[in-house]
């Protein structure tokens, strides 16, 4: 962290002055770790048509935190991660076993998770207000230890991507073909969903449940307008995620608005630009 602080102090911002505003410096480092993570996962969320699914996962993460709080676990985040991962696995299973459209299955799961979360949160006349912070999120409250955790997750996701992206992409393009070439389609999808579940749950506290899905959808949705192959797709998606996150954090500092919302708005503007720029491709 010391190294990071001394690096940031070189920046010409008022909050970068030595010895002050550590929360802002932490937040900057945190978004630099979180945003590539979302940039990467986003590509597959969009290719695999899972944007609604990732939204549902956010809801299950909230339920997990509610359950964790109820049970008095020291850090409800761990309960939430477990529940979200189980949710992801169960969802992948049900979707495979039924012939329902995936948006229907997601709708079923999502509403159940939210209902359960609210039920537990308000159980015994509990007050919902203590969960409000989850809805909006606060990147400024991030602690160095949590940044370390995020960095570990980023590493794991990059490893996962290196090992299994090819199989994942094949499964998404044509499951039967992928299977005939020895790809374990079910496990590819299950592991990917669980990765999203963990990332959403861990970063929810800082990004905010209401806008977290935009981070999983917008970077790649915009990149999709421009990219012609997977390399461009990943590059554009990640660069956009990082740039919008840094810009969003700065804006939120200047104007005092929520960081998550500012980042999302930047991404939305970027999406609009790419939409206009997109070539009528043949």
């Amino acid at each position: 962290m010391e190294l990071w602080y001394s690096l940031v102090e070189l920046l010409p911002f008022e909050w970068a002055a030595p010895g002050t505003m550590y929360f802002m410096k932490n937040a900057l480092l945190a978004v630099l770790v979180i945003s590539p993570l979302f940039g990467i996962l986003s590509t597959m969320v969009v290719t695999n048509r899972m944007s609604f699914f990732s939204d549902a996962l956010g809801h299950s993460a909230f339920t997990g935190i509610a359950i964790g709080t109820l049970c008095g676990v020291a850090d409800p985040m761990w309960a939430a991660i477990l529940l979200a991962a189980a949710f992801a696995l169960l969802f992948t299973y049900v979707q495979r076993r039924s012939n329902m459209a995936s948006d229907t299955v997601i709708g079923v799961f999502s509403s159940t998770a939210v209902a359960l979360g609210i039920f537990i949160a308000t159980f015994d006349s509990g007050s919902f207000t203590k969960f409000n912070s989850l809805l909006i999120g606060d990147i400024l409250s991030v602690e160095p230890a949590k940044i370390g955790l995020l960095a570990v997750i980023l590493l794991v996701v990059i490893l996962l991507w290196l090992c299994s992206f090819n199989g994942l992409m094949l499964s998404s393009v044509h499951p039967a073909l992928a299977d005939s070439r020895g790809v374990q389609v079910f496990w590819q999808e299950a592991i990917f969903s669980m990765a999203i579940a963990v990332v959403v749950t861990v970063s929810m506290t800082w990004v905010g449940l209401m806008v977290i899905n935009s981070l999983l959808v917008l970077p790649a949705a915009a990149a999709r307008n421009l990219a012609r192959n997977m390399r461009q797709f990943h590059l554009i998606s990640m660069v956009a995620a990082v740039a919008a996150s840094v810009a969003g954090l700065m804006t939120s500092y200047q104007l005092g608005a929520s960081a998550g919302a500012s980042i999302t708005l930047y991404l939305a503007v970027w999406f609009a630009i790419t939409f206009l720029l997109r070539k009528t491709r043949l």
């Binding site: 290719t47 005939s180 192959n229 797709f233």
Partner: protein
């Protein structure tokens, strides 16, 4: 999920690679999709599978690929009496791709044949390898096109090239001619003919295009839950079984 049951091989087919299906049955839950399916596929043969939609053609293919559990026996025998499972190249029924997905032919191909993550910069060697694979189907120029931008015939060629890498013993094509125009159809069939002689492999394909059967297929299997008729194309096409199964189609369209 793949269940493979390979029994011992009986007599016949000795000396050349072949696929022998005996009394095969497939059930999806309560529903019986295939029953009493038996046929042989010999080396260097093109066998066409015909039958109405829902006759179980795709299910039969996926069963041979080992993706669906079945009763009965599927026996493979390669040249020299080797009974291990042969490589099967599979060209799936023309999938519909999202036209906007940024997946290029190269991305798709290299993801299937190598472990190199496709989102990283491409090594020259891999690119050359994919290019040479596509050259087998005269598709070198398609390398940087997006999957969604391919025409029906181009897509079939890419899928065919993929099925040929690594070079299989048996090539299975699920309705390769659907969504392909007349020129593309002739090109594709000539290519299959060329492939089977050059690489000495057996080809099993399903089709609804009966006009070309006589010219390209060695054997035709009429399937509707079970094998109704097997034989040379003209024999099957003029059989009463064929008339019965396709009676309505002939009445309406009369194209066949």
């Amino acid at each position: 999920m793949s269940i493979q049951k390979h029994g011992t091989s009986g007599p016949g087919c000795a000396g050349s690679c072949c696929l022998k299906v005996m009394d095969l049955g497939v059930n999806f839950g309560q529903e019986e999709v295939l029953h009493d399916v038996s046929f042989h596929l010999h080396c260097g043969e093109i066998v066409a599978l015909i039958g109405p939609n829902g006759a179980g053609k795709s299910s039969l293919f996926r069963t041979i690929l080992g993706q669906i559990p079945h009763t009965g026996e599927i026996v493979f025998q390669r040249a020299g009496g080797d009974k291990t499972r042969p490589l099967i190249g599979y060209v799936p029924q023309s999938p519909s791709f999202d036209r906007g997905d940024p997946v290029s032919v190269f991305d798709f191909f290299s993801a299937a044949i190598s472990n190199w993550p496709v989102f990283l910069p491409t090594p020259k060697k891999l690119r050359a390898r994919v290019e040479s694979c596509l050259a087998r189907v005269h598709g070198e120029g398609l390398l940087d096109k997006r999957l969604g931008a391919l025409s029906g015939g181009e897509l079939q060629r890419v899928l065919l090239a993929l099925a040929l890498e690594p070079l299989p013993h048996i090539l299975i094509l699920d309705e390769p001619l659907s969504g392909v125009d007349i020129d593309g159809e002739k090109q594709l069939l000539d290519m299959l003919d060329e492939i089977r002689t050059r690489y000495d492999l057996s080809i099993l394909l399903s089709t609804h295009d009966f006009a070309t059967l006589d010219q390209y297929a060695d054997k035709v299997i009429l399937l509707k839950s079970q094998v109704l008729k097997v034989g040379p194309p003209h024999e099957v096409l003029s059989s009463p079984e064929f008339q019965t199964v396709f009676h309505l189609d002939l009445g309406k369209g009369g194209i066949f």
